[in-house]
């Protein structure tokens, strides 16, 4: 399994491997995306970030699942996976709501790519991690709380 995945990484071609490449730090999110203005990444709050990326009032969706730890093992690298079951998903953005600049990543998907991305994000404190999915020109969202704790003192 390991060897296979490592080979895939070396080859790094095809839509399915983009997320893995980002996760491994081979690509910076800004290199992987297309079309989201820099101002969205520089926005200091969730509202401005959404506005600047053109997703003003995304509708809550149960078809988006976010896989992330309940409590982060290391706030500097929090693994986050987003799966969108919404047909025609063309973009998946990830926001850590309480980060100084909440928009962490925006992935553009094309050519019928599966609505799935996996990456690691940095979080300064306990916060909702929000996914914003674009499909058919509309925006959808879901969120999950990830706790960042001081640690120590367990059992």
């Amino acid at each position: 399994m390991n060897a296979l995945r490592r080979n895939v990484l070396k080859g790094a071609a095809g839509a399915g491997t983009v997320a893995v490449a980002v996760a491994a730090g081979l690509l910076k999110p800004t290199q992987a995306l297309a079309g989201v203005p820099r101002s969205a990444f520089e926005a200091k709050n969730v509202g401005d970030a959404l506005k600047n990326m053109g997703a003003n009032a995304p509708a809550d969706s149960k078809d988006i699942s976010i896989k992330a730890p309940d409590i982060a093992e290391n706030g500097a690298v929090v693994p986050v996976e987003v799966t969108s079951g919404i047909a025609g998903t063309t973009a998946i953005a990830i926001l850590a709501e309480k980060n100084a600049t909440p928009l962490v990543a925006d992935f553009s998907l094309s050519g019928g790519a599966e609505g799935y991305v996996s990456t690691r994000i940095k979080m300064g404190q306990t916060s909702l991690v929000r996914a914003v999915v674009t499909a058919g020109g509309k925006s959808y969202t879901a969120a999950k709380e990830v706790k960042v704790t001081i640690g120590g003192c367990g059992g």
């Binding site: 399994m1 390991n2 995945r5 896989k67 730890p69 309940d70 409590i71 982060a72 093992e73 290391n74 693994p79 306990t126 706790k147 704790t149 001081i150 640690g151 120590g152 003192c153 367990g154 059992g155």
Partner: protein, 581 residues
């Protein structure tokens, strides 16, 4: 009612244990305990024996259960959040009986003198062998927190416990504190000692950081009397958070109930008729997991050190999962008997047997092993540091007298305004009048990151830390709980509102009678830093210095917070002196 002699003797044993018909105190004190006290008739065809969180206590010890174990949210008033009389009533245990002593703190000192010490591997070995003789093929499960907690385990790099567990006949284990010996040491033991002895080490929720590959086997399949039994391992999910991350740098943990479901389904598909989880989640997390994951017959739990006499039956989408928790410090052995017919469990019988050392003769081989392994350290272990007139215990949500002694020593030796001590749930109990030896001190402090620290902290930082730890204990969602108790605080008095949310639980903080100033800087002593590269004298040295100087410990003033909003009749708290509303 008709019964044969054997049944009559069994009834007598139960009666004595529950104090129903016999005066069990005098029965035990007079040595007239029925010889079949530990005769647990076999039920069915699949048996699992379970101990957990023995914290490396090879010899019999005292261990007092808590008088404060609050449940929040949906856990209020339910097992395991029952203490004292409430626990006895819930399980129909007679006050004053041997079992009442084992499961509660009530009249601890007096009852301890009647019933004697608990645990000890030589005595546990005798009990395990006795039960196994009646249960061919029975598996012995070790729920973890086995290698850490004593001086000798620390000084032998866990080897004393590894060899003791192999000799005890452990079949399958899952870890928590084991990881604090470092990932390399864990892997060495698993690949060498355990492999050679045929001990399995399972953990479905430990994967590599890079690609998420399993580090250990997620589960093992065993055949018992023609029945296929799968045992899935669940390590403590928050090991890299509650303990130092740098000790397991390449491993990721977490609860991972989606992958748990995957392994359960795989085991069933491969023909498992019984699927159980050997868990170090802690009981509240186990209860939630049991409601979400389907297809598990029983979860054998630990971590939160709850001695729960009977399993909790948890309903989920496809059936019922039994959730147990088997206490700590070698005090209990869980015995689960399943009757399996066809592809499913038809019925079960469970007992959580207290291990009363006086009632179980020491196994000679194990006894000799323990003597041998301790021999090089006896002098050091037995150094008398002081005598305690006070009753020293640790367990309880907010503080224990042992921890009070540690924070008093830290403040005194370090010249601090305040001190923090982690809310560990392990650590033995000392009766009034007993010597505080180096061994007893190490019972409270033997960890691989024992450094003490003295830090300047603002009042605001102090509050943030206390709020953070308090949320790890009282978050209404068990998946955000870490299973320890509240950080022990010396020098600062406060009020706590467990049912509030993070940032709003701690109030009225005062230091020497004055309100803690958010902007002012205070000198705070502590120990057990989870960050890497922290230097400092080991905690046991600091406390030993203090004890040698004091010579006699008496009149400890237990700093307990005023508790708000839990109700005076909350079944998770009793005999509390800190103020309750």
């Amino acid at each position: 009612m008709h019964m044969n002699r054997r049944e009559f003797l069994q009834l007598l044993a139960v009666a004595a244990a529950s104090g129903m018909a016999l005066d069990s105190k005098s029965a035990l004190a007079g040595g007239k305990v029925p010889s079949n006290f530990y005769d647990v008739p076999r039920h069915g065809n699949v048996s699992l024996l379970h101990f957990t969180d023995c914290h490396a206590q090879l010899l019999p010890i005292w261990f007092r259960e808590p008088n404060v174990n609050l449940g929040v949210g949906s856990a209020l008033g339910k097992a395991p959040h029952l203490v004292g009389q409430n626990l006895l009533k819930h399980y129909g245990i007679k006050p004053g009986s041997a079992e009442a002593h084992a499961f509660t703190y009530l009249d601890f000192t007096e009852a301890a003198k009647v019933y004697g010490k608990v645990g000890g591997f030589a005595h546990l070995k005798t009990l395990v062998d006795k039960l196994r003789a009646q249960r061919p093929g029975a598996l012995l499960l070790d729920g973890g927190d086995t290698w850490q907690g004593s001086a000798t385990s620390l000084w032998t790099d866990a080897q004393d416990m590894v060899d003791a567990c192999i000799a005890l006949g452990v079949d399958i284990m899952t870890p928590h504190w084991e990881s604090t010996f470092g990932a390399d040491r864990v892997v060495e033991i698993v690949n060498k000692d355990f492999k050679k002895a045929g001990v399995e080490f399972v953990a479905q929720n430990i994967v590599t950081n890079d690609f998420g590959d399993q580090v250990f086997k997620p589960y093992v399949m065993k055949e018992m009397n023609g029945v296929k039994v799968a045992v899935i391992g669940q390590a403590f999910p928050y090991t890299p958070i509650a303990n130092p991350r740098y000790m397991v740098p390449d491993w990721s943990f977490g609860i991972r109930d989606d992958s748990m479901q995957k392994w359960v389904d795989e085991a069933r598909a491969k023909g498992a008729q019984v699927v159980v989880v050997l868990s170090h989640n802690g009981m509240d997390v186990d209860l939630k997991m049991a409601s979400r994951v389907t297809g598990v017959d029983a979860i054998f739990g630990g971590h939160t050190h709850d001695g729960v006499p009977q399993p909790v039956k948890v309903k989920n989408a496809k059936g019922i999962t039994l959730v147990t928790n088997a206490g700590s410090n070698g005090k209990f052995l869980g015995v689960m008997d399943f009757e399996v017919k066809g592809k499913r469990v038809e019925s079960f019988k469970y007992r959580l047997l207290p291990v009363f050392s006086n009632l179980l003769p020491a196994d000679p081989a194990m006894d000799a092993y323990i003597k041998k392994v301790r021999a090089p350290y006896e002098k050091k272990l037995n150094e008398k540091l002081a005598v305690s007139d006070d009753f020293l215990y640790r367990r309880g949500n907010f503080n224990g007298t042992w921890d009070q002694l540690l924070v008093d020593a830290l403040m005194d030796v370090k010249g601090a305004d305040a001190a923090f001590s982690p809310g560990f749930r392990w650590g033995t109990t000392l009766l009034p009048g007993e010597d505080i030896t180096m061994e007893r001190l190490m019972d409270q402090t033997a960890i691989t990151y024992p450094q003490t620290t003295l830090t300047s902290m603002s009042g605001e930082t102090i509050k943030t830390i206390m709020e953070d730890v308090c949320d790890n204990l009282f978050n209404a969602d068990p998946y955000y709980q870490q299973g320890g108790d509240m950080v022990r605080v010396g020098g600062i008095e406060y009020t706590v509102s467990p049912n509030q949310t993070i940032g709003k639980r701690i109030s009225n903080m005062t230091i020497k009678g004055k309100p803690v100033d958010a902007k002012k800087t205070y000198k705070v002593a502590g120990w057990a830093p989870v960050g890497e590269g922290v230097a400092g004298e080991p905690i046991w040295e600091v406390v030993a210095t203090y004890l040698r100087d004091k010579k006699v410990i008496k009149g400890l003033k237990l700093n307990e917070p005023k508790i708000m909003g839990v109700g005076k009749s909350n079944p998770g708290i009793a005999d509390y002196d800190g103020g309750l509303s």
